[in-house]
Subunit: 249 residues, 2 copies
Amino acid sequence: MTITFYDIPSTNPGRACSPNTFKARYTLNFKGIPYVTEWVEFPDIEPLCKKLGIPLTSKNAEGSDYYSLPAIYDPSTGVYLSDSLVIAEYLEKTYPGTPQVFPDNTIALQLSFVSAFYGNIGAIWDFITPAACAKLNPRSIEYYRRTRKIWLGKEMEDVAPKGEAAVAQWAQFKNGLAKVDAWYAKNGGEGPFLLGKTPSWGDITVASCLILFRIVWGKDSEEWKDISSWNEGRWAGILEALKSYEIVV
Amino acid sequence: MTITFYDIPSTNPGRACSPNTFKARYTLNFKGIPYVTEWVEFPDIEPLCKKLGIPLTSKNAEGSDYYSLPAIYDPSTGVYLSDSLVIAEYLEKTYPGTPQVFPDNTIALQLSFVSAFYGNIGAIWDFITPAACAKLNPRSIEYYRRTRKIWLGKEMEDVAPKGEAAVAQWAQFKNGLAKVDAWYAKNGGEGPFLLGKTPSWGDITVASCLILFRIVWGKDSEEWKDISSWNEGRWAGILEALKSYEIVV
């Protein structure tokens, strides 16, 4: 019984390029649960979810339905699910013999970490959003530009900060990551992860953002080299330590 | 060998009334480590720390030294320490046989929780600061008013929001706690704590704020009744579950 995993394709040779879907992909790979990927372009997400009965992820600000990926179909239970956290909780309960992403009942702490992590790296999205958009396929680019224009109130070309503002905002991102680094630095040093030797949901969330940066800008970009050099290489180190779980199948 | 614990007195019959010193007190009580309290009024903290060699807690915004309590003296090692987190880490390492406040190597996650928790309850301080000030002894009140006027840029009487602004800011605090509640709600329900049955540093931090609110406003106040009624009684429940560790000796 193989799970169907719905992800968004890109022009990246590995195709996957979404931090939210990467969270579910890392989780499936870490747990060793068999799955196949079904690729869904942005404009096809809502029709597919409606057709299959995949639940809403949330509501848009103006109250309309918001459908997004990742989603999964698990034929062993007949269940369709969306939202990376919902999927992770489902897999944790349904496949208790697999490695846990919330070990030692740390889920409450993990969710607070994720909230604090995103709170600290907010400055990055203006940089990465247009760069990630450019990696999509043409049909998705058109959809992505149109919807983000509504959400962000500007054209994709105007999202990234420029000149001195860009320098200041990049420094803000660096400072935010340094705060996250200070938490990681308390982990006892027996491994690169929040809990030390054991990867968990917080690390998967961090890695899912980092891998986006590495894919979108490329390993040899100034941006990735910069990030890799910060905090004694912590960020490149986390990706490296989770390398076997980033595989796209 | 009994630890000396330096705390700030108040007109509260139990005397203790500081959320930061309560963090260290809960930790000592939870670990069952013998200690005696030495009470230090606000204007006496810096001279005492300088005399005994208790380290700075941090620097003030303008660069001057900032001495604060809690602090401890441990005669078994000859060590003076300040800062509730530093003290907790020290006790954890020095007395490994005692109950752990960072079980299962969760310290990195715990610190992210504390950061996210404070980030969510920021709206409360304008309410509680003047009320807590009023609970101090006269010498400390004078010192507290003078230093907070520099930090906050206003007289103590002007700190608490009034009228419609107060209603909005109290709602903001309630909303912030609701976000923290949503994390707690994921703990599996086997206990009131972040990790379920086991109290840890995050719970101690939450309780140290809650107990301040209860002491300053009183159990029968509108404020405490309001807070106690939120989130299905979670906040009063956490204090109740840690009741045996709130003792002042």
